[in-house]
Amino acid sequence: MDIIAEIPKEEYIKKCTSACAGCSSSLNLRYVTKAAGPDTVLVVPACCTSVIQGIYPNTAMNIPVYNIAFAAAAACASGMSNAFRQAGKKTNVIVYAGDGGTLDIGIQSMSGAFERGTDFLYICYDNEAYGNTGMQRSGATPLGARTTTTPTGKTDAKKDIDAIIAAHDPPYMATACSAYPQDIFKKVEKALTFRGPTFIHILAPCPPGWRYPTEKTIEMGKLAVKSGMWVLYEREYGKLTISAPSKAAMKKPIPLEEYLTPQGRFKGIERKNVEILKQRITKNLQRLAAEEAAP
């Protein structure tokens, strides 16, 4: 059966949010919440979603949202999950955090929550910079990308948070991208069937931050996957499966330039940085293919 037909019609994020035009994160949130259903609490640290949900006394969300300080999402969720389980409740506890709140300021509390086996789903939606504060560099910003604090392009590579999460050996972890909402739906649904900490890292193209026209949000996500710059996979009890869209892309990735050129943030990127990015893509694809093939 087509996955589209399986996706519930219920909406847990209402229309008229205060998201930017072309925001892929609100699209992610729509499918995450559809997969999670109404018995769910979202724990949200400082990030774009703090804004997207609306201003008190209004909220765009039709499930409870607990906003918490920047560094504290996973720890807060840890307390919440333990309290629900102690009370015999199965309520899903989902952290929905940006890349800054995950890779940078929130990494300690996240690591702690994973190490303790907290029963929760941690979702990092990654627009590769501090979007809410006007696109400053984060640990997730790729090499060569311009942000307001890397005006000539970032000189360091993107932090490999997935490797860090994998080192915690969670029962389930996955990557996803807002251009593939059915894939997001399936992965969130699956993650919530596990007991213990699970992780989904969603690439979330950002028109004002990445500097492309708002109507190109889906296309930008697809280009990220087709170029191999972003790879969709899931890892269940350590066993890697590369997801269908990336399987196709891995056979014959499109030239990286097709992904970089439409984005203003990569304007004027140095040739050597493009080469480094290409080398990293090749190496990453080889590494993942080898891991998947391993018995």
Binding site: Q53, G54, N62, N67, N82, A83, G112, R116
Partner: protein, 370 residues
């Protein structure tokens, strides 16, 4: 039941009897005995709680917040740097109106590393919206912890409560402890704003200036309302268990010409000092401030006041002295003593009263009156 216990054990015993659903804590000297004892209670099945062994104090308070908003009882304990590290989250806990109870074992702040008693750690939290009580004996540490849950969870309060006990000079000393059966003294917690997915609500999202301002006033209104809740709780405790507590503990203050004001264990030493002074014909009394937040109305009219601060606000003065001066509009003799665990005896305290000069500040062992 009568036993012998340390201040830390007394706190842990009271927490066990309050049955928190979730305890989240991180170890720090001199608080460690509390978290070790809690871990033992949970592991041995004496306490049916979830004990979250977090990776930091910031996460300890965040975990308590996440648990508390589901409507269950929570507890944590910390000290010194741990308290300062969780400062962002102590603000969040009060702002989110969560009745979290925390024991703070008062300790100085580095550098250099110093593990001994001082009140500057907790007093740096004075503006966060937490109620703060300072205790002086093992028995009081136990009693105040039991009462803290009742007060914090009262629907006229719904603010977190910090029980402060001096590092080592109370946390690690052994005194008699008479435990009670709390029964329904601690009623079940009914958090009116608990998360319920059946009634989806957003908490702590973007809030405009007018609403934010109103919410701050709500905290202050509850802080003021907490006065009668504290009074009623202490009265009920006395009725049930026979031990009476006030906002302050006054010793021979009524007819005193001069009152020595202090907090924590110094307050017990001060009573010995007063006996010495009385024998010398000096009409002195001791007032031990128990509740620092809400700050009580003090009966100090017509008396000279000597304030001992085991803390300091650089560029301003002794924190307790300033609170008292602001309220009483009188010059006090401000003594700064005991910082970093400096030894201060009852003879020293008696000396502060004998040598008092109103309107001056004196760093014991360091400066003359300045």
């Amino acid at each position: 039941m009568r036993k012998i216990a340390t201040g830390n054990k007394a706190v842990a015993e009271a927490v066990k009897q309050a049955h928190p659903a979730v305890v989240a804590a991180y170890p720090i000297t001199p608080q460690t005995e509390i978290v070790e004892t809690m871990a033992d209670y949970v592991t041995s099945g004496q306490l049916a709680s979830r004990y979250i062994q977090v990776e930091s104090e910031h996460s300890a308070m965040a975990a308590c917040i996440g648990a508390s908003i589901t409507g269950v009882r929570t507890f944590t304990a910390t000290s010194s740097h741990g308290l300062l590290y969780m400062h962002e989250m102590t603000n969040w806990a009060a702002g989110a109106r969560l009745p979290i109870v925390m024991a703070n074992v008062n300790r100085s702040i580095g550098p250099g590393w110093n593990i001994w008693a001082e009140h500057t750690d907790a007093l740096q939290e004075r503006d966060t919206g937490w109620l703060q009580v300072y205790v002086a004996t093992v028995q009081e540490a136990y009693d105040a912890t039991l009462m803290a849950f009742v007060i914090a969870e009262h629907n006229d309060v719904l603010l977190p409560v910090m029980v402060n006990l001096d590092g080592f000079s109370l946390s690690h000393i052994m005194q008699p402890l008479d435990t009670v059966e709390p029964g329904d003294f601690i009623p079940p917690l009914h958090l009116p704003h608990a998360i319920d997915p059946k009634y989806p609500t957003s908490y702590g999202g973007l809030t405009g200036p007018n609403d934010h301002f109103r919410f701050r006033w709500d905290i202050e209104r509850s802080m003021r309302d907490s006065v009668k809740v504290i009074e009623a709780t202490q009265k009920e405790f006395a009725n049930r268990f026979g031990r009476s507590y006030g906002f302050t503990e006054d010793y021979l203050c009524e007819d005193a010409d001069v009152v020595l004001v202090s907090m924590g264990t110094f307050g017990k030493e001060a009573e010995v000092a007063i006996d010495i002074l009385r024998k010398e014909g000096i009409k002195a009394g001791s007032m031990r401030i128990r509740w620092f937040r809400p700050f009580p109305k003090l009966a100090l009219a017509g008396k000279e006041v000597v304030v001992v601060d085991r803390d300091y606000s650089f560029g301003s003065g002794g924190i307790l002295a300033h609170e008292i001066m602001a309220q009483t509009k009188k010059d006090v003799c401000s003594v700064i003593a005991g910082i970093g665990g400096q030894e201060v005896t009852y003879d020293d305290l008696a000396g502060f009263v004998r040598e008092r000069r109103m309107g001056t500040e004196f760093w014991f062992g360091v400066t003359g009156n300045v």
